[in-house]
Amino acid sequence: MIEVIKPGLESSIQDWPGRYGYLNLGFPWSGPMDSWSMRLANVLVGNAPGAPALECQFMGPTLKFNQAAVIAVTGADMQPKLDDVAIEMWRSVAVTSGQTLTLAFPKLGARTYLAVAGAFDVPEYYGSKGTFHKGGLGGVEGHAIQAGQSLSVNTGNGQAGRQVKEGARPHIKTDKVWEVEVVRGPNDDWVDDAGHQRFLSTDWKLSSKSDRSGFRLDGPDWTFNERAHNKLPEHGSDPANIMDQGYPVGAINVAGQTPIILVNDGPSMGGFINPYTVPQCAFWKLGQSKPSEVYQFKEVSVAQAQQQARDIAALCTEASIEQV
């Protein structure tokens, strides 16, 4: 068992690809925001890439191991320490029973992943072991981990002394400016040409009012075409209103004038337009950015986005591991 001494800031068990296939019932995907880092943490300790691991955000947890284990910490550098001795990120490490793992704040990036050989043992709920914290389901008792809880781990075959090759890791931006891929649609035809140009040329600032449901962006106002202004009354009165529709995961949802990227725990439907969508291959960038950092959106085709996702998946395998 692993005892939670300090929980950190909404640290939660997530698996990949998450609660896939239930948006029609209102369940978001959940899952890790930076699945690239989480999958590599699992591969390091001999788990399946999508096995349940712990996502830590902004302030890390303190965990006491009451059993021997092999662990790996990837993603943002939360300065991991075992009994006050620093351990390497992106490397499998042996933990002896009685040792305490401390994760602090990330020196770079925002989200850190802890995988344990054998993987966290939590019940499956609607096809996933991932946590939907706001919905109170999945993970440990439906929520982020809490002080005093004990986390159980299945028996595993992890080996210490393995590390992820430098070229296989995501590179977190140091200049606080991120180029984020977007694909057009589904409601791009509600925005005028000036609106599209403005969207793709603006430095959008990530608001601190952002979480695993939505990433709110500060920037200029949108302009719309005739279709948004001259429409049937059932679409609603605001230009950004549309008759209620399903939302894609990653939709850039124009709520009046504020764009909100609907991320892992986001809503599955509503009545605002989504002129662009952030594809899955770019989600790790969202997961690793902090409030006040800047997004510059770059339009790519669906085929390009899918190829990038396949390229990342190919990196999240044993081929990316080397012995220390």
């Binding site: 800031l9 909404e10 302030m59 704040f105 020196k107 009012k209 952002s210 902090k290 409030p291 006040s292």
Partner: protein, 72 residues
């Protein structure tokens, strides 16, 4: 002995509850940050007098690790 209270997370400064010269007790809330729509209070590690306050309400995009308040 001076105690430096560092920001434990990146984010915005929502409330600053102390000023230079205030006497505080261990466990008193000094300031509250905001990140991911959550409040993150920071508490005094020890009794003492506030000798420096390096943050202001409304500051955005602060990085973790900066010394926000010093208690002596």
């Amino acid at each position: 002995m001076a105690h430096e209270v560092e920001l434990q997370t990146a984010g915005n400064m929502w409330k600053v509850l102390v000023k230079i010269g205030d006497e505080v007790s261990a466990g008193d809330t000094l300031f509250i940050m905001e990140v991911m729509k959550m409040e993150v209070p920071h508490e005094a590690p020890a009794d003492g007098k506030v000798t420096a306050v390096n943050v202001e309400e409304g500051q955005e995009g602060l990085d973790a690790g900066m010394v926000a308040v010093v208690i002596d």
